[in-house]
Subunit: 469 residues, 2 copies
């Protein structure tokens, strides 16, 4: 790989210098630990350092060395202090305050700008898309219930609350609705067909007529099965008309606003009341990194802030600072997950991420073309974003025979270590599913996969024909 630096990925173009940097980082970290007792437990962030965290997200790469230098100057000297021998404050400290909160605030600002949210919106980095959806839907529930849900609970609801989504919505949203006490009966799944919007409107009207209270529509920006994107603009109109909270589950697709060949499909995302994003998917940040954005910061804060004495905010010292992220979600102690996002975006620049995403979308189309031209293969769904669903189908076989055959093909592909698609079942057809969010893939990787699926499929059929297992 290192011999082809011309193929742009997120990998280093010069492995030796990345290796040298990694060794420097390790040396710095070990020395830091070894000498922790010699330093002050804590020190305030000077205003001029704090001011360095307001820049917009860089479009162009700065390179890892320079980003590490920035880290050494602006982040490393201002820890919480929780590893110091004389740190006896909260249990092992709390990642949400001190310079870490400036980094997180900047990252959240970058995410807001990316999806077109206003500067006064709020946000929080979380473990991933599931948690981002839980938080977004919690804010929706509390904002639109029409009574004080935090105080009275749903047990005091004058009318059952109802949330809407398409049948293709990711299952984590159903888990969220169940968690929140709305019940799966409180999630109306409307079939995705040509008439989705009018069916949705009819369902809302029927619920109102039956005395229930519609509160929220969850849109999918990239469904998990096929990568389809709801018509966000039309759903924003509908929610505006109906007075509903508009939540976008953008775990798969929201970051694709960075890619020119996807952005038009996502029009309307900037009108959402809340958006869930995953940064450990198409932005390739190491696990775990998700993000929830909420247009109205005060509504967001009112859902989660609960300030007791031992969490009271101060103007100075360890507990100083205006922004306590614990007011915007469920966690208190938090990993400094903003750092990896911050460093990665600075290292590569958003434009490179956009190119990687756009290339994945092109690769999906390329692979779909291979499938269409190969008589033994067939597409089982339209290509959505970077997702291709297909199966081995040499003709003359029924689904009952094709399904186990394709299942066996997939298992063999994985067990032989050739490639790792996953699978799904669409209209009773078991198929291989490619989610091409991989910055290292090249066209020849897709050629190889198409070839190998046909080879394994034919081998299995020959074996079966000869009475083999």
């Amino acid at each position: 790989m290192s011999s082809d630096p011309g193929y742009e990925t997120l990998d280093p173009t010069d492995w030796d210098s990345m290796r040298a940097l990694a060794h420097r980082m390790v040396d710095d970290a070990i020395t830091y630990l070894e000498t922790v007792r010699d330093r002050p437990v804590w020190q305030p962030v000077p205003a001029e350092v704090a001011a360095r965290f307001s820049a917009p997200a860089p479009q162009e790469p700065a390179g890892a060395d320079q980003v590490y230098q920035e880290f050494l100057e602006n982040v490393f000297p201002y820890p919480m202090g929780n590893i110091h021998p004389r740190f006896w404050a909260w249990y092992m400290g709390n990642g949400t305050v001190h310079v870490a909160n400036l980094v997180e605030e900047q990252v959240v600002n970058w995410m807001k700008a990316m999806v077109g949210f206003p500067a006064e919106a709020s946000g929080l980095l979380v473990s991933g898309g599931s948690m981002a959806n839980v938080l977004g839907i919690t804010v929706a529930r509390n904002a639109r219930a029409g009574f004080d849900v935090r105080e009275r609970g749903l047990q005091g609801a004058p009318a059952p609350l109802v949330v809407y989504a398409s049948t293709e919505v990711h299952s984590c949203n159903q888990k969220a609705v169940e968690l929140l006490g709305l019940g799966s009966h409180g999630l109306r799944k409307v079939p995705v067909k040509e008439d989705y919007l009018s069916a949705l409107e009819a369902a809302i009207a029927a619920d109102r007529a039956a005395g229930r209270r519609p509160i929220c529509v969850i849109a999918s920006a990239g469904t998990v099965n096929t990568g389809a994107v709801d018509d966000l603009d039309a759903l924003a109109d509908l929610c505006q008309r109906e007075g509903l909270w508009f939540h976008v589950d953008g775990a798969i697709g929201a970051v694709a606003v960075l890619a020119g060949n996807v952005k038009p499909q996502l029009r309307g995302i900037e009108r959402a009341d809340s958006v869930a994003l995953d940064l450990h998917k198409w932005l390739h940040v190491p696990f775990e990194a998700g993000c929830v954005l909420v247009r109205n910061a005060e509504t967001h804060r009112r859902t989660f802030a609960l300030t007791v004495e031992y969490l009271e905010h101060e103007s100075r010292g360890l507990a100083g600072g205006h922004l306590w992220f614990s007011d915007y979600g469920l966690q208190l102690s938090r990993h400094f997950r903003a750092l990896k996002v911050w460093m990665s975006i600075k290292e590569h620049g958003l434009a490179r991420f956009g190119r990687m995403i756009a290339r994945n979308v092109e690769q999906a189309r390329y692979f779909a073309g291979l499938v269409e031209r190969e008589p033994n293969l067939e597409l089982t769904a339209p290509v959505g974003l970077d997702i291709v669903c297909f199966r081995f189908n040499p003709g003359g076989m029924k689904d009952e025979a094709l399904n186990p055959l394709n299942k066996e093909i997939l298992t063999r592909l994985q067990e032989a270590g050739i490639a790792a698609p996953s699978y799904t079942t669409l209209r009773g057809q078991y198929c291989l599913r490619m989610a091409i969010s991989n910055h290292r893939s090249r066209l020849e990787d897709f050629d190889l996969l198409a070839r190998e699926v046909v080879r394994i499929g034919r081998e299995l059929m020959d074996g079966a024909g000869r009475g083999g297992r």
Copy 2:
């Protein structure tokens, strides 16, 4: 620090060899990334490797080098494959399956054994205590509501559900109850006094008489303000008698069962229906690492499992394996947080953690003794576990004057980088709060703090006396 290897901490006794190991790890990691294309995407875990993850938690240290060797042999070769150029399965993979799940299963088994839970109990590593409490209380709600909460939601509750705790319960439990749609009205906080148990029983009886349905008692094993531990055995009896779910918030204190001088106080924790633990507090695992344990695994699973097609479990290949941790919580993609717990416990052995915890408890008593002997200082609460609450009080001053004075002392201690206690207010008295969960602290650190608090306090008083600011 390195010059005194005789003082046992979790730090390396030989910094040079730890540094060498860290450099080896970095080299291995970089080489691994550089050559990712040359390896199979995925390979199954051989049965003999899988069998290596069933040993109980070691009591004695194995040392970092040996643990890394085990990692290289048993963990490193069996990744999910999501960094490979031909990985196109779920979006960037899923930390919950493959060898990672064996590591997590083993870590959860160690935690179960640690608190005295039966082998057939279930558990999950989560971000921290807040999330562990959310999950435990969700299971409690769904198990004891008396109807299908997942399906019908609380909107269909025949009677309002009520959860009980003491007034000292950590605020995250209130956030959990609010999240779950029970409302803060659904959390009955009973004042902690001598008669706590009978007051709790009276509250339960009164709710029953009023047509409400008591479902759960949350006990605190280590309160955040003072480190107090509820009488767990008595609460277990009460829950058994009343048919309530017994949840223990052990975020602060549960791991102290490892310390001989704390264990007797925690008697009864083994009788809980669910326990929330934090491993990034007193086990010193880097953020984030919490754990929820549930006595009845099936009840746990029934609360969270939602298996849709794209998450269907298989017997072979990438989606193989019997244990899907996503069935036991809210996340799908998960960081491999079990690894750091696994390595840390193997490196140090549980007995060393027990010694570190026991020493913190001794240090709390030592510091409390300093405070009691120093005329300018006073304890503001009994010492609980490792928590000491105290304040500067030279005598002859009212709380209205002492409170801002102590606040200023704390800020100066922190801003000067001398030490980092936190603070709380008890019966209107602002006080400094020490949570001594620090394996690096020595007795002289406490001497220094006592001295400095008196020095700063006197200086501030002299300044005030001279009309200074």
